[in-house]
């Protein structure tokens, strides 16, 4: 019988709506419940529509990762209708997807998560000369730190704190030993990051019309036809973002992380990881991607191929009718029915997906572990570098933790940033080689298909059944369903719930550590 005594609702600085309840005893979280509190019904809206419509509508599931939903949807339609997209379209899609990764990860670290680790009030105490010295020592970029501090001071003195109203300034869970100068650097880069995430999304605007919600990766390939001028524009922006990631985001990560080394010892959870893989190679095979497909189970540092047939979704604790339970999404059903919120009965609009019966974490940590264990070169190099800095050389298992999850996302940003430049070169080479096809049409009117892909926040699947030219059934299993889904029919906790259990909570009225763990999933 669960008796939660700490509630966080709404969880801010995430996409959408989430409630978390914890049972805290003697400063430690003993039990936890995560509740998705919104149901919109995309799967029901898409039924009966044209297969190509799903691409445009399904991406509206998430305004932060619409590219990934668009791609998973369009891949499910292509699989159902027997379309293989031309190689040029594959490269274009990889670049658009990667630009969204850069956008999303930068936005996450600076705009959404940084305030959990950096007390902005502390930045007011920074000495400016020392701030420059520290930035140089950390190898991170410099800016007019005095101006940033003055702006911050103006905000505080003006008494209108705006988005900082009621924040948890001076919280004891902040690293007390962190110098104010590092806090000031982080605040300065918080502002800079706003421009860099926007720059990454301008790449999507060039190739996809706009961001969020892009227009071009429709079933069959891409509607965007590259021109010399536009490729040049894309390359310039990607180079700018890539340099900023290497010169600011990675050094910042490595400078801040040691102050939270304690977070290597909690927040890991079940320790099972799932990745469908992302960024197609010319083979277009799920088992042959830049960031590979794989499943890793607790206690064993090895990866095995991940098979979508092993998914089952459970609804005993979700607001869906019993007939929706214990199904693979390929046969999935959606019959919503709200009863009441009760952590001991039904408490979430998210189903509880399991893989081979197990709760699996989705996200950059899953992808980095699978890639590391698969020996993907740029991943092993940067992960080993980070492990060395954290004093855990040769111990990738420490990544199964709160800090590991945060670090994995930022390290992935660097890997993907490099790849984007490679892929622009690849696109130019394909164009020069006469590979000028970008779209393949189909006259098929029936079939079953799945699009297994990775959003920045983890493993994503769309399933489409087409009959008589229309969508007969549509199902989606998002990364956040894997991560924030609750207990299954056997009562086994969900991924985020388990990650919370055992974590400290030194101030139950301001559960900072719990909020950090929740946000580390970028739900």
């Amino acid at each position: 019988m669960g008796t939660p005594n700490v509630v966080i609702d709404p969880i801010t600085r995430i996409e959408g709506h989430l409630r978390v309840e914890c049972e805290v005893e003697n400063g430690v979280i003993k039990d936890a419940w995560s509740s998705c509190t919104l149901f919109r019904g995309m799967e029901l809206v898409l039924k009966g529509r044209a297969p190509s419509d799903a691409f445009y509508v399904a991406q509206r599931i998430c305004g932060v990762c619409p590219i990934s939903h668009g791609h998973a949807s369009t891949m499910s339609a292509e699989a159902a209708l027997g379309i293989t997209i031309p190689n040029g379209a594959r490269i274009v899609r990889n670049i658009i997807e990667a630009a969204q990764y850069l956008h999303s990860h930068i936005l996450w670290f600076y705009t959404l998560a940084a305030l959990d680790y950096i007390d902005p009030g502390k930045a007011l105490k920074a000495d400016i000369a020392n701030t420059y010295a520290l930035a140089e020592q950390a190898g991170t970029s410099i800016t007019d730190f005095k101006a940033v501090q003055t702006r911050l001071k103006g905000l505080v003195d003006g008494g209108q704190l705006s988005i900082f109203s009621n924040g948890w300034f001076d919280h004891p869970a902040y690293a007390q030993t962190m110098p104010p100068e590092l806090a000031l650097i982080a605040v300065a880069h918080y502002l800079e990051a706003l421009e860099m995430q926007a720059e990454a999304s301008r790449v999507i605007a060039i190739m996809g019309g706009k961001f969020p919600h892009f227009m071009t990766s429709l079933p069959g390939g891409t509607a965007w036809v590259p021109t010399e001028e536009k490729i040049d524009d894309v390359l310039f922006r990607l180079q700018r973002v890539r340099d900023w990631v290497y010169n600011t985001m990675i050094p910042d990560t490595l400078a801040i992380a040691p102050f939270y080394a304690g977070a290597l010892s909690y927040g890991g959870g079940h320790g099972n990881f799932l990745a469908w893989g992302v960024f197609n190679k010319e083979s277009m095979e799920m088992k042959d991607r830049y960031l590979p497909n794989g499943a890793v189970f607790a206690g064993a540092l090895k990866t095995e191929p991940a098979d979508p047939a092993k998914i089952r979704e459970y609804v005993k604790h979700s607001w869906f009718k019993a007939e929706d339970g214990d199904l693979n999404p390929a046969q999935g059903k959606t019959n919503p029915e709200f009863t009441k919120y009760d952590v001991n009965d039904k408490y979430s609009w998210a189903k509880a997906p399991r893989y081979d019966g197990k709760p699996m974490e989705a996200g950059p940590l899953s992808r980095m572990l699978v890639a590391y264990l698969s020996g993907v070169k740029p991943v092993t190099a940067i992960v080993d570098l980070a492990l060395g800095k954290l004093g855990a050389a040769g111990k990738p298992e420490v990544l199964v933790s709160l800090l590991g999850r945060v670090a994995a996302r930022n390290l992935e940003t660097a890997v993907v940033a490099d790849w984007t430049l490679e892929w622009v070169t690849e696109l130019v080479a394909a164009l020069k080689g006469g590979d000028v096809k970008f779209f393949e049409s189909s006259t098929a009117t029936a079939g079953d298909g799945a699009g297994m892909w990775e959003a920045p926040r983890g493993a994503l699947g769309h399933w489409m059944k087409v009959e008589d030219g229309r969508i007969a059934n549509y199902q989606v299993c998002t990364p956040s369903t894997w991560n924030i889904g609750g207990r299954d029919d056997q009562g086994v906790t969900g991924v985020m719930e388990q990650a919370l259990i055992g974590a400290p909570c030194i101030d139950p009225t301001r559960p900072m550590e719990a909020a950090r763990i929740v946000r580390s999933f970028d739900p």
């Binding site: 966080i8 609702d9 709404p10 801010t12 600085r13 996409e15 959408g16 709506h17 409630r19 509190t37 919104l38 149901f39 919109r40 019904g41 995309m42 809206v45 529509r49 044209a50 297969p51 419509d53 445009y56 509508v57 509206r60 998430c62 305004g63 932060v64 619409p66 936005l107 705009t111 959404l112 305030l115 003055t150 702006r151 209108q160 704190l161 705006s162 988005i163 109203s165 924040g167 706003l194 926007a198 605007a205 060039i206 706009k210 961001f211 227009m215 071009t216 429709l218 390939g221 891409t222 509607a223 036809v225 709200f338 919120y341 779209f439 049409s441 030219g469 009225t509 301001r510 909020a515």
Partner: protein
Amino acid sequence: MAHEDQAFYDQLADRGVTRRHFLKFCGSVAAMLALNEAMVPTIAAAIEQAATSKLTPAVWLDGGLCTGCTESTAQSTYPDVATIVLDILSMNYMETIMYATGASAEQALKDTVEKNKGKFIMVYEGSVMTGWDGNALRIAGKPALEQILEVAPNAAAIIAVGSCAVDGGWVKSYPNPAKAMGISEYLKSQNISTPVINLPTCPVNPEWIVTMVVDVLLLGKLESGAILKELDEFGRPKIIFGQTIHDNCPRRGHFENGEFVYQFGSAEEAKGYCLYALGCKGPQTYTNCPTVRWNNQTSWCVESGSPCIGCGDFNWVDENAPFLNRFRRVGIGGYTQTGGYNPAKVATLAGGVVAGALVVHGVGMYAAGRIGDGPPVEKMKDYDRKRTKKGGDN
């Protein structure tokens, strides 16, 4: 003209924004507001003043959303989102970016409403979720409808951002599983009369939010009530939603010449031909996307090679799907029409016939009085009438 505040320009310079950049931004705002260039100094002075005096309090409520409108707002460049929420507005509650969380966040909302009754701006993003007595969306342990009822009556004005907030958006599409609706409709059902400014499209274009902030707040049109005269019968600013995409489309010339793209990724697309044959909803969609564009004026849907899907239309998914057809079909929400997903068939329908059909459509809209103060839809040019076998209005 007001005194130029050096501190303000220093502050901009700190963010790499030169005075010239800033005045350029003010110029684009003036253009969007259909104001004379002589208004630029007034706008600049108003922004300066706002940035150096007490900020207008605002709260941003999240309904049944994808967060795309917040994301879109974060893509605004001049001013960037930090300027909007730190220097122009005091955004005391905005779930996606605010520092506070949980009960502390709720308290910030409560404080803002209590201390600023009738004086703060409420931005609403996402659909109003009425399904299961409002339990389709729960915030702070209760139906989110309660949050709306506590905040909306006390706001000076509400800006509904994005199609979901305006009329329920895709969430309301057939079969509307969670009984979604727009904020205006919901407030009406609750007899709440706070004025609502509707900014449709999916997501909202941040330039429009910026324009409204300048227009409504800084130029004082809310206090004077002048803003209400500038809205159409659907609560949309006429300056933004008064003309169709087709009216201002850079590919319009190809439409006039009967030069269409029949296949995605084709040589015709490379030449920038008209996307009407592939289902473009530009002719019936009222927004200024072609002139304002998206992501700091980087591009927009048609420029990237995609037909407009009419995300700024009312009930846009049911009205416009299948997006790649010129016609809707039977079976979705009781809408009636013919045909299925079949690009080949669309291609045969296009050409001259579509041009004629469009003129009829345009005249119909004109007769229905839906065209605002902008120029009327052009009748077909003689040149085209001679070239089309069946088309035209002759």
